[in-house]
Amino acid sequence: MKVVTGVVGNDIHVVANRLIDLSLRARGFDVFNLGVNTYLEEFFDAAVETGADVILISSLNGEAEGWGREVRAIKSRYKTLDDIIMMIGGNLVVGSGNAEDIEPRYKNYGFDIVCHQIDLNTGLDMLEEFIKERNNP
């Protein structure tokens, strides 16, 4: 399985990005890491280029909310990405938000898996579970 990952927007938080990279590799994924400070379009471009199965976006500084709203609109311009698994994790709101509100909102933006302030390994377990269920429904 191929995963494109990166930190969205002007966010420069590199630590989580490196750890996601390491952990995905440890779980056997092929990783294309766009690093920090990545625009939304770059994720989709990279997914098309690499034929990725998953886009894993991380965001630490709270600006994901702004970018999230544009996901459906931008993704719809790419014809081959209908089946791609969309995942986002990190701090998904500015300040303290309510997890019960956040998850449906981001699902509504077009994400399949939403991890707000969730431990990295738990998040990746969720991803593997999601993939398994999709393959053997």
């Binding site: 420069i12 590199v14 630590v15 990005n17 490196r18 750890l19 990279d21 390491l22 952990s23 590799r25 440890a26 779980r27 690093g35 920090v36 400070n37 990295l120 390994n121």
Partner: protein
């Protein structure tokens, strides 16, 4: 100086720059009080005395003045001037707008002092008034105009460098350009150094402050020092931040200073003064402010144990954001008190660790010198590009990020994957032998998360 002069005119042709009177600036530097030069203090301070420097910068002249005044009252040795992030990105228009808003509304719209917009004529008034050495803290890849303005303002210590100000902060600022911009900075500093006491340059050793192994820290310090000395700089401070293990800090200091003197001699710059700066813990701070103070005090103790010439302080409010001037001043007073009562420093030894680290540094330095490029900066550039120098957790696209480090049981940072860095086999074996490597990668990732947050 003619090529320099040409470049200079290009830099100054900017609508936000006041007109420079270089003849007047030269006269000013020539006659400036020796007290303004940190190089003078380094040279004349009593043996073992450590200069104390806090952090801090405010947008308006008034608030920066008040901050400096407050610091002077709390017995500071070196005043900081931290530059705002718009100025760091050479966006003087935004800085101007935000400065005006800050002045009009008494709200700080910038995270530092916009030096270009204030200009050197104004800023110089502040610092000649206090008559204390000032250290410029910025993070600017293209700092040419900033440094011209700083020196004209009476700021005679310039922090930064092409590697240490780029790799931790930027994703894709072109590194080759940074080397050339910093070459200009070094030359300007060197040229002014002949007029009075030397301008001091300081490298930024903490880098990403995240599990950087001492070998990488030292190599980067040595290379920025050499790039500076070869342009004629006569006073240079290497630096590093508390690493989490006292032993490793002591060994790092020992190897760094020995090698710095060695390589300075090698390029016939043995006459340059080399100073050691220690940063109090630069990683994540505890949110409990009492605990933050314990950490800060411990950093001070270690700084003195490793023989630092200057310490750069943190505050109890570190985890909460930009500290108040009161918190900053309190740290200064506490640090001075601690340094005063800290006596009878023991000799520390770890011959094996020192040997291992020395071998690592020598091997990387040799690989850099063996690069076929014609100038040192090109050799360094190539070695970052090909991963011979690899800074853990750098966000920059040029950085390889293939070196993996974790902490051993004593919290020493150890290299468990060397990537393309030419760590000698013997050293690599030693580093790995200190760690428990039977764990799976998931556990190691958990360990890294834990290792980053050890002070919390």
């Amino acid at each position: 100086m003619s090529l320099l002069q040409e470049e200079r005119e290009i830099i100054l042709s900017n609508e936000f720059v006041e007109s420079f009177d270089f003849a007047e600036v030269t006269e000013f530097v020539k006659n400036a009080s020796k007290d303004l030069f940190i190089s003078h203090h380094f040279k004349n301070k009593p043996k073992g005395k450590m200069l104390v420097q806090p952090r801090g910068g405010f947008p308006t002249y008034k608030k920066q003045f008040e901050l400096s005044e407050f610091f002077v009252k709390s017995n500071v040795d070196v005043l900081p001037l931290t530059i705002d992030s718009n100025t760091r990105l050479n966006d003087y228009a935004t800085a101007q707008k935000m400065l005006r808003l800050s002045e009009e509304n008494d709200v700080d719209m910038l995270n530092g002092y916009p030096l270009i917009n204030h200009g050197y004529r104004t800023t110089r008034k502040m610092f000649t008034h206090f008559n204390k050495p000032v250290s410029l803290r910025h993070g600017t890849p293209d700092a040419r105009l900033l440094i011209e303005t700083a020196i004209a303002s009476g700021i005679f210590e310039i922090e930064g460098g092409p590697i240490t100000y780029l790799l931790p902060y930027s994703k894709n600022f072109p590194l080759d350009k940074a080397f050339l911009y910093w070459k200009y900075v070094e030359r300007v500093c060197a040229n002014y150094s002949g007029l009075n006491e030397p301008i001091n340059r300081e490298s930024f050793g903490p880098l990403t402050a995240t599990l950087v192994p001492p070998a990488i820290t030292i190599v980067v310090q040595l290379l920025e020092m050499l790039l500076s000395l070869e342009e004629g700089v006569k006073s240079f401070s290497v630096s590093f931040a508390q690493q989490g293990s006292m032993m490793q800090d002591a060994v790092t200091s020992e190897v760094l200073m020995k090698m710095a003197r060695h390589y300075a001699e090698e390029i016939d710059c043995g006459d340059a003064a080399i100073n050691l700066v220690y940063h109090q813990w630069m990683g994540a701070f505890p949110t409990n402010k009492d605990y933050a103070e314990q950490l800060i005090n411990m950093s001070t103790v270690i700084a003195k144990l490793v023989g630092a010439d200057k310490i750069i302080t943190k505050t109890r409010e570190e985890a909460a954001g930009i500290p108040t001037k009161e918190a900053n001043a309190k740290t200064v007073a506490n640090t001075q008190y601690t340094l005063g009562i800290l006596n009878g420093l023991p000799k520390i030894v770890d011959a094996e660790e020192e040997e291992i680290l020395t071998l690592e540094v020598q091997a990387i330095m040799e690989a850099v010198f063996n690069d076929p490029a014609d100038t040192l900066w090109r050799k360094v550039f190539n070695c970052i590009k090909n991963g011979i120098i690899d800074v853990p957790f750098s966000p920059h696209i040029i950085n390889h990020n293939n070196m993996i480090t974790i902490r051993d049981a004593q919290k020493n940072i150890r290299i468990i994957d060397r990537g393309n860095v030419p760590i000698p086999d013997r050293c690599f074996k030693y580093e790995r032998a200190q760690c428990d490597l039977t764990k799976d990668t998931t556990s190691i990732v958990n360990d890294i998360v834990h290792d980053i947050g050890i002070m919390q």
